[in-house]
Amino acid sequence: MSEIIHILDTIRPFLAGIVLLAGGVIILIGASGVLRLPDFYTRLHAAGVTDTLGTLLVLTGLILFSGLTLLSAKLALVGLFLLLTSPAATHAVANAAHKAGLKPRLGTYHSNPPEDDTDVKS
């Protein structure tokens, strides 16, 4: 058992590095999604990605990095807290948009959509 723990200890920083890198990549994808996607709801989806998966990956990376200490317990708590609030936040935004009557843009994707402002109904 002790060797496994020992092995785990040696490869922990690398593991943490990999997880952090993955988290970074996810966030990058989310950010570019927010910029490039055509309408509100798709952008919201991309933002949702960074909120949930990206941050959680970064947090686990940090926990791995700091090992079994008080700090990682706090990080876990932060993770739990984020798990609860960020989806609720995204829901609230989507709900408000829906309430305000914003219809998602259906149909095939055109690189430069005609300027008929179909987003906002009425």
């Binding site: 807290f81 609860l84 609030t85 609720a88 829901h91 609230a92 709900n95 408000a96 309430k99």
Partner: protein, 349 residues
């Protein structure tokens, strides 16, 4: 007196520069934009980025405060103010304000003029770092026994300044009470039971996610606030940030369940009393020290046997005073804004 020390160009400096550039861009965006809603959000972003920048400058307490104030309360209050005014700012007339331009340039020039002789960033031999700053680092341990030097300076060495600052916050709250008024106690709508259940149902029907999450989160936020308060002696935190966090939890409750529910939970008269109470707690500690024979705010008289315990006790009480005042004043400002216009109608959501 720029000594031979030159700030090393390493990763941290690069991050700082990035933060600063982000701040500049967000600042320009705020100036250029006309849509007030975007401006409010951008100011929240501005505070968050500056909080991150402070962290990289190793000023963690300031970062915490900036995050709590800028990103937290200030955005909500500006939203409240925005709801009172208009969605779009009137386009500024393209008049040339020469006088303003000249004054701004002069001030900028004066500041640049001062940078020439400034000690370079992080220079250990510069006056602040070498003189009293060093003295504080050495003395805090033996004098007050409080690991977090910032809290020690804030509450004990320069406790009188913080007493003044708390009074400044009280005065601001007083201003809001006098000018805007708190809109009176919760308006009990005398509705029949049926109407109440109907309203209740309609309210709960489309807020269910937010209501559940906020019901779950508010206690956690308050506990977290308490943690920040009592943890102030060891890590970043203290009365000011804790007060803000607790106030933000109540504001969250008001946003979700309506202003009247919040006014029932935390009545304006209590909030008005709280603002006064905080300063009185702070001043009370000082007066007790007077009565015990020391000067104003000399905490070691609280426990003559162990002066450091007296200091810790004093700092804790004083921070509680700050907490109460800050929380109450934030709520005063929130009640002040929201009481100026009808309940946030559902349509807006």
């Amino acid at each position: 007196m720029n000594g031979e020390f030159l700030t090393p160009i390493d990763a941290f400096t690069v991050i700082d520069l990035v933060f600063m550039m982000m701040l500049v861009t967000v600042g320009i965006a705020i100036v250029r934009l006309k849509d007030l809603f975007a401006i409010v959000m951008l100011s929240g972003v501005y505070s968050l980025v500056s909080a991150a920048w402070f962290v990289s400058l190793d000023a963690v307490d300031v970062a915490f405060t900036e995050a709590a104030v800028g990103a937290g309360i200030a955005t909500v209050l500006m939203l409240g103010a925005m709801l009172l005014t208009a969605r779009k700012a009137a386009p500024a007339k393209p008049a040339r304000h020469w006088a303003a331009l000249i004054i701004v340039c002069a001030t900028g020039a004066a500041l640049l003029y001062a940078t020439v002789d400034m000690p370079s960033f992080g220079d250990p031999l510069s006056a602040p770092n070498a003189y009293v700053g060093l003295e504080y680092l050495k003395q805090t341990g033996p004098d007050t026994g409080v690991p977090n030097v910032v809290s020690a300076i804030l509450a004990s060495y320069r406790g009188y300044d913080t007493f003044g600052e708390t009074t400044v916050i009280l005065t601001a709250g007083l201003g809001v009470i006098l000018i805007l008024g708190l809109g009176g106690p919760a308006r009990r709508k005398k509705k029949s039971v049926a109407a109440k259940t109907a309203a209740g149902k309609s309210l709960s029907s489309h807020h269910v996610v937010l209501r559940v999450v906020s019901k779950l989160m508010i206690p956690i936020i308050i506990v977290y606030g308490a943690y920040v308060q009592f943890h102030g002696d060891f890590g970043p935190g203290g009365g000011f940030q804790a007060g803000l966090i607790i106030a933000s939890s109540i504001v969250l409750y008001a946003l979700i369940f309506g202003i009247d529910a919040a006014k029932e939970a935390v009545p304006p008269s209590l909030v008005r009393l709280g603002a006064a109470l905080g300063v009185l707690i702070y001043g009370g500690v000082g007066v007790i020290n007077l009565l015990l024979g020391g000067n104003f705010l000399s905490y070691n008289t609280l426990n003559p046997a162990h002066p450091t315990h007296g200091q810790e006790l004093g700092i804790m009480f004083v921070e509680i005073g700050v907490l109460v005042t800050v929380a109450s004043v934030m709520l005063i400002i929130f009640y002040g804004f929201t009481s100026r216009q009808p309940d946030i109608s559902d349509k807006d959501w």
